[in-house]
Subunit: 251 residues, 8 copies
Amino acid sequence: MKAEALREVLLAFQRGEMTLEDVLARLRHLPYEDLGFAKLDHHRHLRQGFPEVVFGHGKTPEQIAAIVARLLEHSALALVTRTDEAAYAAVRRIAPDAAYHPQARMITIRRGAPSEPEGLIAVVSAGTADIPVAEEAAVTAEALGNRVERFYDVGVAGLHRLLSLHERLVAARVIICVAGMEGALPSVIGGLVSVPVIAVPTSVGYGAGYGGVAALLGMLNSCSANVVVVNIDNGFGAGFVAGLINQPKTH
Amino acid sequence: MKAEALREVLLAFQRGEMTLEDVLARLRHLPYEDLGFAKLDHHRHLRQGFPEVVFGHGKTPEQIAAIVARLLEHSALALVTRTDEAAYAAVRRIAPDAAYHPQARMITIRRGAPSEPEGLIAVVSAGTADIPVAEEAAVTAEALGNRVERFYDVGVAGLHRLLSLHERLVAARVIICVAGMEGALPSVIGGLVSVPVIAVPTSVGYGAGYGGVAALLGMLNSCSANVVVVNIDNGFGAGFVAGLINQPKTH
Amino acid sequence: MKAEALREVLLAFQRGEMTLEDVLARLRHLPYEDLGFAKLDHHRHLRQGFPEVVFGHGKTPEQIAAIVARLLEHSALALVTRTDEAAYAAVRRIAPDAAYHPQARMITIRRGAPSEPEGLIAVVSAGTADIPVAEEAAVTAEALGNRVERFYDVGVAGLHRLLSLHERLVAARVIICVAGMEGALPSVIGGLVSVPVIAVPTSVGYGAGYGGVAALLGMLNSCSANVVVVNIDNGFGAGFVAGLINQPKTH
Amino acid sequence: MKAEALREVLLAFQRGEMTLEDVLARLRHLPYEDLGFAKLDHHRHLRQGFPEVVFGHGKTPEQIAAIVARLLEHSALALVTRTDEAAYAAVRRIAPDAAYHPQARMITIRRGAPSEPEGLIAVVSAGTADIPVAEEAAVTAEALGNRVERFYDVGVAGLHRLLSLHERLVAARVIICVAGMEGALPSVIGGLVSVPVIAVPTSVGYGAGYGGVAALLGMLNSCSANVVVVNIDNGFGAGFVAGLINQPKTH
Amino acid sequence: MKAEALREVLLAFQRGEMTLEDVLARLRHLPYEDLGFAKLDHHRHLRQGFPEVVFGHGKTPEQIAAIVARLLEHSALALVTRTDEAAYAAVRRIAPDAAYHPQARMITIRRGAPSEPEGLIAVVSAGTADIPVAEEAAVTAEALGNRVERFYDVGVAGLHRLLSLHERLVAARVIICVAGMEGALPSVIGGLVSVPVIAVPTSVGYGAGYGGVAALLGMLNSCSANVVVVNIDNGFGAGFVAGLINQPKTH
Amino acid sequence: MKAEALREVLLAFQRGEMTLEDVLARLRHLPYEDLGFAKLDHHRHLRQGFPEVVFGHGKTPEQIAAIVARLLEHSALALVTRTDEAAYAAVRRIAPDAAYHPQARMITIRRGAPSEPEGLIAVVSAGTADIPVAEEAAVTAEALGNRVERFYDVGVAGLHRLLSLHERLVAARVIICVAGMEGALPSVIGGLVSVPVIAVPTSVGYGAGYGGVAALLGMLNSCSANVVVVNIDNGFGAGFVAGLINQPKTH
Amino acid sequence: MKAEALREVLLAFQRGEMTLEDVLARLRHLPYEDLGFAKLDHHRHLRQGFPEVVFGHGKTPEQIAAIVARLLEHSALALVTRTDEAAYAAVRRIAPDAAYHPQARMITIRRGAPSEPEGLIAVVSAGTADIPVAEEAAVTAEALGNRVERFYDVGVAGLHRLLSLHERLVAARVIICVAGMEGALPSVIGGLVSVPVIAVPTSVGYGAGYGGVAALLGMLNSCSANVVVVNIDNGFGAGFVAGLINQPKTH
Amino acid sequence: MKAEALREVLLAFQRGEMTLEDVLARLRHLPYEDLGFAKLDHHRHLRQGFPEVVFGHGKTPEQIAAIVARLLEHSALALVTRTDEAAYAAVRRIAPDAAYHPQARMITIRRGAPSEPEGLIAVVSAGTADIPVAEEAAVTAEALGNRVERFYDVGVAGLHRLLSLHERLVAARVIICVAGMEGALPSVIGGLVSVPVIAVPTSVGYGAGYGGVAALLGMLNSCSANVVVVNIDNGFGAGFVAGLINQPKTH
């Protein structure tokens, strides 16, 4: 039953051609979309600058460009993660305003100004090899309109460096903490600050690191109570939730 | 070197009894605590109403009471998790204002008024057996001064009930989602709202649920990007981070 | 001892050349195949349109073609799974009536009309990347003579779309539900319908998805009691069992 | 908005007190339950004899009795699994017509005649220790109105016994196959019949059986394509789905 | 201390140049090899036809040829496993009597006649993809001088074929049973015979087969008590132990 | 169809009351047991002294006694494993000739003389805590008629003790090697002897031993090619296969 | 062949009753123990104060006392781990000089003065619940004659406390670091010092800590290169190796 | 606040321009690095010859050369692990004194003489395939100034060879033991010596070796109490800690 049909039912009722009970019976079987439910969903995206995101891994440049083109029809912000320069070339053909972030391996397209969250998001990473995931988080948060400060190569085995950043870390509204190997960084940083710490385990390491399992388990068992965790290598998710936390609830 | 000793060094320098270089050399080896670092830490607790928390499992009532007594010397809020009535009796002897929450299996002691966060924290749980963990989250968040609304027995296999709560869920600033078995609830709720969802896997279930592993993995792999995860059965951590998200950054 | 030999034994007994005890002793050691057991097996295939299936992965086009040629000698329906265009070229040379299904990566050859099951099989999948496995299930079910309706890109994070399909899902005799990541879709769909749901976990995802383990465990622990599970990426098995369920027992 | 309120809206519209657009706007925000969605769900239970099931493990007899009492208000069939005689005593006080099945460790209450499926459900189990799970499956299927035939102690290491049952197994519309240890029974039986085989791994065994993991993995990797799997020890789920398969689609 | 030196010590003692205590003290610190321990080891190989084996995977043809050349200096039988034609070309240059077994991916060189065990070794495999491992077992056993009978493509889902082999299987002194996927074959065969069954899990399969884990666990949990297990894909080990079992203890 | 019935069929055919085709049709559907297949199985037990074994864990003394009584009707040797004195008391009431082996936690009943294998079975164990499993193996092998020599407390960390046993170990026809923790003993012993070594991992140990997993994996990956493995704590299986190896093939 | 026999051989040779070749032949087959190898082993214990250790878990007080009595015949130091007061009472009856350490759950008996290592061993632990394992390490090291300094409740979430200990930690020759949950402490301490850090994971924690697995993996993947690891809860091993490191090599 | 600023504060205090309290307040907030903490860290490297290490895997030759160039500015010893000839060519351009070790796959650059530890480090490996990891350990230890003796191809299945090395092994101050497959070597060697044994599991093997897991678990569960463990394939860590143990504590 289309919205048109719904109007017909109601008008028929008004005209006395249907009883009240008939109308109620019809309403009970309305398909959900016709009730504007889907519209609510689109509204959510447009109003809050929510990104539409494409997981680029395993898709051809053409497939990525086609999906992006469709997303841009109703979204002000589109992201492609785990992608490369070839996909960027394809996307630029349908969206010349697309930007490519090589370290983050992401494409971003924003149309219209983002909301302006006031707080700061700090992105901290442990080792050089963790930077791609950290950049995925940072670029995501920036695309959502946040101010982001990056602190890379901050390992727990070099406490002096970590401590020298203390003043700047406590200034953040939320901290994203990216680490592979033993994944101890979120616990240490969690103890230094009083804001949420989003821990991102990375698949960096070898041997008994098991592609990020050691870091993941370490973060889930953190002795710092302000640590929450996302999937291994999920920089996008961390950047996204950090943006939600930094954004004052307005609806 | 105590703070007293530090004063002596500086005064000796002022009196010309030490060279500038001597003073610098001494400062380089100052123990950290003497520099007031620990005070900063205590300050954090007092200013922000951060809880001191005791993991009660495996401790005797007497041990719990002794730890609580020590914590209350410098903290305005103390929580005991995974505890029971016997421990409560012991704690009440040293803190008559302690409260016991049987479903949450927690003891709380608050001294002084909490801060007043404006937003709402929703705590949703899937099955009856998940309620103790959900209550641990809810009581923790309430102890931190938050308004909390509980939605229990909201399983994904009964969508009609979940959907009837939609309006109330979108009113929350952050949602805590507690589920065992397949842990699908955070994904479904994450798709309905535009705020952070803190997923708490529980050890509820049997067989290939592996004491919460199935739920934990399900939540880490959520297709909803606004889901973050804490350890299995870690209601306290979820309630704590939810409170941090709900609390406007003020320092 | 061949069937011929069996006849000889019995005739010799009839002629009085063997005692009853001799015959009984011979019968006790009869090879099973000679008793028509294998024929029963072939009969099963021919009568019920059961497919012979070749797992194509790791086999050369020539090997696949040779196996298919042999199967077609006594089977009315042959399927090749996990295959490609090169194998199809080889098969077409020995079976010009073979069809190739690129999304499903399958080759099918049917000779003779299939049985005609009355019910409908719905194949639902969560993400774009799950489509190859969903197609393997759908093509298998169709090859067995079933009517199949496909519902792709129906994720649990977008409930409005799932709910808009409700009327069409309840029309199915059995539902195949294909999902990677957290594998929550079968639980949600299971709660909406009153028919068996065959859940197929896929290896889609990354990090703590562990190549389908998260989805598999989620499906095994489904809170919807009408969910059964097959191996990761086993679209063929799901399509096959769905066909058995949809087929009235006739022998 | 209650159904009452919905009537008011429609009547106000009929009386010309609301415009068509006003009515449409109100309908878009209707809570779902008010649209009769929940009723549809209850209808499902009543019409099809779907069971309401209580997982008894970890609940007191009083809790179980209270839940059962509530379920019986709108369900014609209630089951309690993983329960005992003490719970039965409590349940019988509120439902004197309740039956207890000691081997299955189940309580069943049926009110009104079940539907009458025509087919037969065979329940086969491998070892003596698998019988409680097999009985849970059999009692569940019987409670749903099915004819059930039990074949216990049919191990793959004793093929002669398995083969002697061949004729009776092929008579079934669906077979439930319960096995611990290596879980090989469903593969062997799957090869003998042309109907769906629902495999139930049990936690029977020791050492590298890992509480049912070996059996579960064996069944998921079955070389017989007609095998589907449920959770370890999930006799209820197997019996329930077997009933769905055996029940002709009627709506 | 070389054997020469040992002689010197004893002769010096005989000549009265060393006391008995001196000799005893020297003997206490003798390096083991000098006592002929190593010779004992070589003796073992020569006497019993024990193979020297090279694991070819990851070694260059030149490395393999060099190792084989060294082994042949003191061994009558050398095997190379997991190898290919290129390595065979290299080996043939230093051992023109080497033989290559393409299905088994092995090179064998035998010099001198093997012992002659009387019994028969049966090698049974489940699927086509298991044949390379089965051949590795068969070729190894043959190289050790055993009579080997091969039974391939004997899956548990096709019992009629398995049973037709019953008479020939019971004729074996030991059975090697090679299977991937659910690994059920050894349990079924173990129940048909009264000799040891050496089960070899293979990495054949996909999804929850986990590279042979499902088969390995199934075999370790076999309900047939005459089943022992070797490592995944370890055809060589199975063939070797089968040879030891088939060889009458003669020392 | 009973054997009686089979005779009737044949006699009817002889009398001309059935055609040849009728007889053949009847034979094709003969239940297997009626063909003496089960007798063959019983024959196997009686002829070769194969044990019937009851896994005692989780069974009541009365259940064990009842099963044993039934087994003794057609078996000359019955074993109960994982049992205790209470079960022994119950068994002795129905079989006064039963023997109890407290360290092995086994009950054995033998009627009639066993076969007399010529070789020796050595049972070696690593630590004190491994002795119950080692005894289960030793008592099983003895019950089957084998000569068994026990070597306990032979850890790889004390090589001098192991080496002092070298002469006696090489005298064995087959060696059972029982070890927990790292499970290194079979590898070391395997290198010292030229007979099959049956490795039995035990659940002895703690922490990362994971209830025998470390030992099991160590044994499966043994660098000694003459090592085969049975399930964790499966002393019975090891003793049984050792007996089969030690028993000359006679049928 | 006893040492006596060896003398006989040599004397016979001296007397000309045996040829040189005969003597050599006899020597080749000498049992190892007769060569004084075992004495070397005992020597090791006596000279270096190596402990004999009994793993008390699962042994009765009487068994423990009996083993200790035997050990004390040739060892100057005996330890019992994982024990209790009841075992202590039994041990004190045969060794009145035994000492009990309740937190460490250990019994120690030392006879004769230990060696006197010069360095200091620091034992650091993260949480209160880790203390029993830390004490097992500390008591073991002290029993071996080392000076031990304890630093308990030093979590990575409270860096200020850890840093205030910096001066005292760098004074140690080796550091034992005991931690459960995420096991991050060794990495942080490893970065602060330039001596070996022996990391001991504990089974403290819950949920995804998996009884010490998270801590174990974290420690194995430590980004501090001076970290080595022992088994979960293996305080004894850590204390023992720390003692070996602290002990100058003197032989 | 820079060191310059610190001087200004102190001089201002000396000049009477700041009160004592003002100075103390400033000191409390000093960034750590400004206090010379980082210098302490550099000091540690220069004084003790600690290496700076680059994990080469996944880095381009140019990246490696750039990092090495930066490290050499303040370190007397730089190592690159998991690298190759191409990286060596790049490094040699910026450090002509660099050395390449092909078996160890390492680049080393040393400037200035190392300290001279007195003891010997023995590096023992089990199989040929373990040599690269063993060489990584040996080259690391040598780069730190240690004398290293290599013992390769010393498997536990060939005890005679292991025992012939006994005298030379007991001469070592610390032993590095490298083994894949079952990882039994450290246990056996641990029982022969009275010094620490650092066990390095390798990813050598196949099947149930699981890339080093079997060896890792075996080593963690070693029955020799003097065994500690590092990560799978972590030759560098083993060589580094061995150097720390061999180096007398001098600060």
